[in-house]
Symmetry: C2
Subunit: 499 residues, 2 copies
């Protein structure tokens, strides 16, 4: 990354343009282009049959007694912690999951629908490190989390607040969930992602939501969506199951996302990976419907692969893209909302690889019909680090996809023809009123001027430009209004529950 | 870009892996996934009608008398240089264009089909500058062109040689085409891109091809594909028309590609841009069928936009992606092969923006059904510069797309199920024979190991890794065999024709 401080003289105009960009909040994505498919109905049915044979013939381990008790209320075959279930019975439970749900925000204008053609974007998740504004990679702090909540709040195409955008490592782990939830509520008014690292932390999250929304509203409506992972292949551990059960019981949404890594925790096969992941996810999702029929659940896939030349997990590859597309087709087959990963780079810095890695997640997730798009921007190092600069550059990519998914615009076709006729051969359209009202997309951090201008302006790379933009945004950030009594009640809860 | 020389100690393993990667030549892309669409039949017919109204009501300027003479053999309405033509007549000419053609290489193993579900990738085109191995941007030389021909020859997923990968600025312009054609023939045995900058230079190209293939073969078969641009809106100049006529007369393929920049040379509308560009391209393509019925022609679109905040042309945006998808749908409607641009970054260096810009071309071009994919890799600064490092990183992206377009693999589904059954819950697949035979894709320049390892290895960014890879490849490059007499005949021709 070029140092952001040096030779800034010539880039004033550019930085002013960045500073003056208006903050808008876009509604959920409702794509107006066809859903992209990588296989046909026959392929979908082959994967379905694969998944069902896994649930029937191999089964899945549920490592706590409470879950096994749930399964006893079904016709599942239980042997210790191993549960097998016939496809008819499994699918009857899955059918109870709503195809979409409303996730309420403390500001009703930010409330979103998830599913049934509505998609939302959520921020980075769970990184212990930041790549900071000086390009230094260090442990994340509560200040970083708050900063990222602020930036995220201002991002037009991000619909959801954290959650654990980064882990505030300076807060003791037993209190961290309280501060993360408060950070999301305080610095944003977008919907909130819940905590899952222990039963009582899930319960604390729900209690804080009750303070915000009132007891009754918070139990009968969805005010959090959380993310739980299986230990693929085919194992659900007690911690994750505890969080899943708490949230399901309270009608809170959960993204049920096996932590698949093709070639390690799932087979070295895209089709096989989706088959195994489906079996794991569908079984956990089905179990929630025993606890609370109709509780909103999403089928999720992280779609990593292991690079067999190094043994390292890789985000962003043609195979993860294929898994993403196939998973989406399966979610539509089962009529459940689908969570996909947008943007996790394996790269360590904001280089070409970082963007290429990201695009292997962004394009497939955006072009399929995924409903909850996690990790909207900024993640490096396979999700271990969030970069400030990359976060800002990625936000613009989200805006670009939002624009793209609106599809081609036929509305003004007659007006455009008249403009072409008026201009005629050999002239240009720059001065036409239609051009001045252009809706064509502009990346505000993209350097599209001359090399010479770039040189004079200090040869900033796009990560450095992103850092400058983060600084500008933090300067002009405004706290969304929150009732003082509510704020005090939340802080009081944190004080009482802190250990 | 990090300096490539420093602290290389720890990256030995990585560099060895890069050096030992086998060189393979992939056949044409035959995509096994559905074609992605952004509109339906109704949208296609609206754009068709727009384009036809342009040819009928507005017309196009053909700025030379010879072309006007061609048009006199049709029922076109001619007024000076302005030509208008009724849709029925235009389409009757377009119908004579073959939906695919065979482009012969001097090595028959590299001969390709273009169209009818076959797609080929060609390299960068026409850049006067290189970003060299030291990260310096300077004028390109013949040595750079030869180097890039060598690298291009070794790239698995690139099917075509240059052409003017870069402009060898050290060679006088009147002789440059001779050396460019020789460079492609000498350092590669892949099919050749022709010269278009003057009538006699096109004729020289064909004469050199006659030396390689023999007179009769070179006139009855397609041994070059060339690229000509209109001066949008709706003007074809004499130079471009001269080259077009020479190639058409000799049954050589031409990509007829209006140089559209939405908001400047075409309207600030994706739909309108495609409509205008179609009118321009279809009229020039139709004219070639008067000269030689059945001459292979491709409909091409560069799909740039002008950023109205700076007035600068932008490659790689959601609007260029939309134009790309729409153009492809139109090419399929007219049943003509389609040329798209893969990968041109507006960025000045190999940063995140460079890769993001590129992906807005790569994904649309690869996911639609484009048949000739120009600018396979390395272009920066809106096509003014080719970067050595980016070229190598982009080659891997091409390989990744090649892999992706093979679609999901259902062939081993039974074997995969048995592996899952054998491994069972809670274990891993790393040691399984199926995993060891994995066909999952690996980016050989992607850093997927730990941050600490990256730090020890010198914190190389991906552009620096690409430069190292270029150096390795050039060391192990082997000249493809060429008959000594042929080489002498080509050099003799160049000597005779040089001014």
């Amino acid at each position: 990354m070029a140092k952001t401080g040096r030779r800034q003289g010539g880039s004033k105009a550019r930085r002013a343009a960045v500073a003056n960009a208006a903050i808008r909040h876009f509604p959920e994505i409702k794509r107006k282009i066809p859903i992209m498919e990588v296989t046909n109905r026959e392929g979908v049915e082959l994967i379905h049959d694969f998944a069902m044979r896994v649930t029937e013939e191999i089964g899945c381990d549920f490592q706590d007694e409470e879950s096994i008790e749930c399964w006893r209320q079904t016709g599942a075959e239980i042997d210790g912690h191993r549960v097998k279930i016939a496809r008819e019975e499994l699918l009857a439970l899955i059918e109870q999951i709503p195809s979409s749900y409303v996730h309420h925000a403390r500001n009703p204008e930010r409330t979103v629908r998830v599913g049934d053609g509505h998609a939302v974007v959520s921020p980075s998740y769970g990184a212990p490190f930041v790549r900071d504004m000086d390009g230094v990679r260090r442990y994340a702090t509560l200040e970083d989390l708050n900063n990222l909540q602020k930036l995220n709040h201002m991002a037009s195409s991000v619909h959801i607040a954290g959650g654990t955008i980064v882990e505030p490592v300076d807060i003791p782990v037993e209190n961290r969930h309280l501060h993360m939830t408060y950070s999301g509520l305080k610095y944003s008014d977008k919907p909130i992602i819940g905590n899952v690292t222990a039963r009582e932390r899930a319960e604390d999250t729900i209690d804080m939501m009750k303070i915000v929304f009132g007891d009754e509203f918070a139990t009968n409506n969805t005010v959090t969506t959380s993310l739980i992972n299986a230990n693929s292949p085919l194992v659900w551990d007690e911690t994750m199951l505890d969080a899943l059960k708490v949230y399901a019981m309270h009608n809170q949404a959960v993204m049920v996302s096996p932590f698949s890594m093709a070639a390690a925790s799932t087979p070295a096969s895209n089709v096989g990976t989706v088959g195994v992941v489906l079996a794991e996810a569908l079984m956990a999702m089905a179990m929630t419907q025993v606890i609370r029929p109709g509780a909103p659940m999403l089928f999720g896939v992280p779609a990593m692969t292991v690079a067999l030349n190094s043994g390292a997990p890789v985000h962003g590859s043609p195979d993860s893209a294929m898994v993403q597309f196939l998973s989406n087709a399966m979610a539509r087959f089962y009529k459940v909302p689908h969570r996909a990963i947008l943007n996790v780079a394996t790269s360590k810095s904001g280089d070409m690889q970082a963007a290429y890695d990201s695009m292997w997640g962004l394009f497939p997730s955006m072009l399929s019909d995924a409903n909850w798009l996690t990790m909207g921007g900024g993640m490096l190092e396979g999700a271990l680090t969030v970069g400030y600069g990359k976060t800002m550059i990625d936000f613009e990519q989200l805006d670009a996809f939002y624009h793209f998914l609106q599809g081609p615009d036929f509305d003004d076709i007659e007006e455009v023809f008249e403009v072409v006729k008026k201009v005629g051969p050999g002239r240009h359209f720059l001065g036409e009123l239609h051009t001045l009202n252009s809706k064509l997309f502009i990346f505000d951090s993209q350097h599209n001027n001359s090399y010479e201008q770039w040189d004079i302006e200090g040869r900033l790379d796009s990560e450095a430009v992103g850092v400058l933009k983060a600084q500008k945004w933090l300067q002009k950030y405004e706290l969304p209004p929150m009732d003082e009594a509510l704020d005090e009640a939340l802080l009081d809860y944190i004080a009482r529950r802190s250990k």
